[in-house]
C-alpha cells in the first residue's frame, strides 16, 4: 500500500482525537507542550488528504468496512478538501499564537494569576484538538446522524473554550451552549423525520430518494432553522457578539473564522445534496433578505462599538450576511454564486482570524481594548496594525485580496440574474467595512501621546501570527485559481441546477 492509498480521511479525524486524549492524560506539565507539537502533526495529516484528493479525485471510505445504508461513510470531495485545508492552516497558525498567549507574562505578579493561567493552559489544548477533530469530522461525514454527533462535539468544545476566559465569558458561554444545543435538536428532529420517510441516513442515498412532500418540507424547515441559529444569521445572531468577544483571543479567532462556517458548510451541503428537489425559491429569497439586513445592521453596530473585540465580532455578524446572499443568486439561476460564496468563506476566515488575533495582541499590549484609547499603538506595534489593515482590505473587498475575488463572483452573479438590490447591498457593506476599519486605524495612527502604560513585552509570535494570516488573506486574491480548482474536484455543486438532464 503506497502513501496515497492510505485512508487519510480517517486519520484527519483520528489524529486530533487521539492527540486530544493524550494531552488530557499528560496533564499540567507535559500536556501543553504535547498540544503545541500536535498542531503541525495534524496539519501534516490534513495536507496528505488534500494532496490525495488533488491526485486521485474524490475519496470515499466506509468505516469498519460496513457500507451504507447501515454503515457510516466518510466522503472527501474538493469542497471538503478545501474546507479542511482552510481549517488546518488557520488552526496551525493560531496554535503558535496560542502557545505564546498562554505563557506567563512578566506583568503577572500575583500568585493566583499564574495558577489560573496554568489551569487554563492545561485544559486549552485538549479542547482545542477536540474542536479541530470535530470540524474535520463534520466536513468529511456523509451520514446525517454522524453529522449530528460532530455538531454536538463542536458545540460543546467551543462552549468550554469560551468559558476558559472566566468572568463574563461564563454567562456568554452559557448562552452560547443553550443556542448551540437548541440548534442541534432542531437538526436532529429533522433527521428523525427524514429517516422515517426514507429509511436511510447516507447523504447520497437520501439525495437519490428524496421527493418533495410535507415531511421533507418540515425536515427542511427544521434543519435550516437549526443551522441558521448556529451560523448566527440575523436575527438569530444575538448570542454571537458576547460569546466571540469575551472568549480568549485564539478561541475568538477560531469561532469567528471557522466554527460558524462549519454549520454554513453543512447547510450548503444539505441544500445541494438532499433538498435539491424542493426548489425552495421563497426560502432562498428570505435568506437573501435576512443576509442583506445582517450586512447593513451588523456593520452599523460594528461602527458603534467602543471595544475592538466587539467591533470585530459585529463585523462577523455582517460578513455572515454575505454568505446568505448566495442562496437567492443561485435560486434565480446563477450557480456560479456557490463557488463565490465558498471563496467568501475562505477569505473571510483568514481575514477575521487575523483581526481577532490583532485585537488579542493589542489587548495584551495595552491591558484593554478601548478603541478611543489606541493613540500611539501604530508606532509601538507597527506589525500588528499593518496586519489589521491588510485583513481590513480583504473585508472591504479591495483588490488584490481574497475578499475582492469573492465579492466579484457574487456581484457578477447578481448582474447575471439582474438582482440589483444585492449589488447595492454588497457595495454598501464594503463601504461600511471601510468605515469601521479606518476608525480603528485612525485612532492607532493618532499623533496624540500614548495614554496606556506599556504592559511589558508582547511575544514575537503574537505579532507574527496575525500578520501571516492577513498576508494569506491577500494572497488568496492573487492565487485564486488554485483554491477554485480544488473546490470543483468531484463537482460538489452539481445539483445546483435541478432537473437538468434528468427524466
Amino acid at each position: 500500500m503506497t502513501l496515497t492509498q492510505l485512508p487519510w480521511a480517517v486519520w484527519c479525524i483520528m489524529a486530533p482525537l487521539l492527540l486530544a486524549a493524550a494531552c488530557f492524560v499528560l496533564g499540567k506539565r507535559w500536556g501543553p507542550l504535547a498540544g503545541w507539537l500536535s498542531a503541525p502533526l495534524v496539519a501534516g495529516v490534513s495536507s496528505m488528504l488534500v494532496w490525495q484528493v488533488i491526485e486521485h479525485g474524490p475519496q470515499r471510505y466506509e468505516l469498519g468496512g460496513w457500507g451504507a445504508p447501515l454503515g457510516i461513510a466518510l466522503r472527501a470531495d474538493g469542497l471538503s478538501a478545501l474546507m479542511i485545508a482552510m481549517t488546518s492552516a488557520i488552526v496551525l497558525i493560531v496554535s503558535f499564537y496560542a502557545h505564546s498567549y498562554f505563557q506567563p507574562a512578566h506583568g503577572l505578579t500575583r500568585h493566583g494569576d499564574a495558577d489560573d493561567l496554568a489551569h487554563r493552559r492545561q485544559y486549552f489544548w485538549p479542547l482545542w484538538l477536540l474542536m479541530w477533530a470535530s470540524m474535520h469530522a463534520l466536513f468529511l461525514s456523509n451520514d446525517l446522524f454522524n453529522i449530528y454527533v460532530t455538531l454536538e462535539i463542536l458545540g460543546i468544545s467551543s462552549v468550554a473554550l469560551v468559558s476558559l476566559a472566566g468572568g463574563v465569558a461564563l454567562t456568554a458561554g452559557m448562552r452560547y451552549l443553550f443556542v448551540t444545543l437548541t440548534g442541534s435538536l432542531f437538526y436532529l428532529l429533522g433527521v428523525a423525520l427524514l429517516y422515517s420517510a426514507f429509511g436511510v441516513l447516507d447523504l447520497d442515498l437520501l439525495g437519490a430518494r428524496v421527493e418533495a412532500g410535507p415531511v421533507v418540507w418540515a425536515a427542511f424547515a427544521l434543519m435550516t432553522v437549526g443551522l441558521l441559529l448556529k451560523t448566527a444569521l440575523f436575527p438569530l445572531h444575538f448570542w454571537l457578539p458576547s460569546a466571540h468577544a469575551n472568549a480568549p483571543a485564539p478561541v475568538s479567532a477560531l469561532l469567528s473564522a471557522l466554527v460558524v462556517k462549519a454549520s454554513f458548510f453543512l447547510l450548503v451541503r444539505l441544500w445541494l445534496v438532499v433538498f435539491g428537489p424542493l426548489d425552495a425559491l421563497e426560502w432562498a429569497r428570505l435568506l437573501g433578505m435576512l443576509g442583506s439586513v445582517a450586512i447593513i445592521w451588523g456593520s452599523i453596530q460594528a461602527l458603534r462599538q467602543v471595544r475592538l473585540k466587539l467591533l470585530v465580532a459585529y463585523s462577523t455578524v455582517a460578513q455572515i450576511g454575505y454568505l446568505f446572499v448566495v442562496f437567492p443568486l443561485v435560486a434565480m439561476g446563477a450557480p456560479s454564486a456557490w463557488p463565490g460564496g465558498i471563496y467568501f468563506v475562505v477569505s473571510h476566515a483568514f481575514a477575521k482570524a487575523a483581526m481577532f488575533l490583532c485585537a488579542g495582541t493589542i489587548a495584551r499590549a495595552l491591558g484593554h481594548d478601548r478603541i478611543d484609547m489606541f493613540h500611539g499603538v501604530g508606532k509601538r506595534h507597527p506589525v500588528v496594525i499593518f496586519a489589521f489593515g491588510l485583513a481590513g482590505i480583504s473585508l472591504m473587498g479591495l483588490p488584490p485580496s481574497g475578499g475582492y475575488i469573492a465579492k466579484w463572483m457574487l456581484l457578477s452573479a447578481a448582474i447575471e440574474t439582474e438582482q440589483w438590490v444585492f449589488m447595492v447591498v454588497i457595495h454598501a457593506g464594503g463601504l461600511l467595512a471601510a468605515a469601521y476599519v479606518f476608525r480603528v486605524l485612525q485612532h492607532a495612527f493618532s499623533s496624540l501621546p500614548c495614554v496606556s502604560p506599556a504592559q511589558g513585552e508582547v511575544p514575537r509570535a503574537m505579532e507574527l501570527a496575525p500578520f501571516v494570516l492577513a498576508v494569506i488573506a491577500i494572497l488568496l486574491g492573487l492565487a485564486a485559481p488554485y483554491p477554485l480548482m480544488l473546490m470543483e474536484i468531484g463537482d460538489p455543486f452539481a445539483l445546483a441546477t435541478p432537473a437538468q438532464g434528468q427524466p
Binding site: 447501515l70 446522524f145 449530528y148 454527533v149 454536538e152 458545540g155 460543546i156 462552549v159 468550554a160 468559558s163 468572568g167 463574563v168 461564563l170 454567562t171 456568554a172 458561554g173 452559557m174 448562552r175 451552549l177 443553550f178 444545543l181 437548541t182 435538536l185 436532529l188 428532529l189 433527521v191 428523525a192 423525520l193 429517516y195 422515517s196 429509511g199 441516513l201 444575538f238 457578539p241 458576547s242 468577544a245 469575551n246 462599538q305 467602543v306 471595544r307 466587539l310 465580532a313 484593554h368
Partner: protein, 105 residues
C-alpha cells in the same frame, strides 16, 4: 390513529413545550431541564417511527441513534451544570443577566 403516531405527536408536543421554557426562562437549572425534555421529545419521535409497522420487527437504527443521543445529552447536561455551578460561585445566583454584550472585561 396508530399508537406510534400518538407517541410521535407526544414527542413533538414535549419538544415545543420545552422549547418555550428554554427560550423564556431566566433560571438556569430550569432551562437545562427544558433542554433535556426537548431531547427526550426528539428521542420519543425517533423510537415511535422505528416501530411504525405493527407487524414488522422494530427498526433497530433509530434505537441506536437514541442511545447515542442519550450519551450526547448527558455530556451536554454535565457541561451545562458545571457552567451553572461556576456562575453560581461567581455571582451567587443561577440566572443569566440581561443580554448586554458590551460588558467590559
Amino acid at each position: 390513529m396508530t399508537p406510534s403516531v400518538l407517541y410521535a405527536l407526544a414527542g413533538v408536543l414535549l419538544f415545543v413545550g420545552a422549547l418555550y421554557t428554554l427560550i423564556i426562562g431566566p433560571e438556569l437549572v430550569r432551562r437545562i431541564m427544558a433542554f433535556n425534555i426537548m431531547g427526550s421529545g426528539v428521542f420519543l419521535v425517533l423510537i415511535a417511527f422505528g416501530a411504525r409497522q405493527p407487524d414488522a420487527p422494530t427498526d433497530p437504527v433509530p434505537q441506536a441513534m437514541v442511545l447515542t443521543g442519550v450519551v450526547v445529552a448527558v455530556s451536554a447536561t454535565a457541561v451545562a451544570l458545571a457552567l451553572a455551578r461556576h456562575i453560581h460561585a461567581l455571582s451567587g445566583h443561577t440566572r443569566l443577566p440581561e443580554d448586554s454584550p458590551s460588558d467590559s472585561i
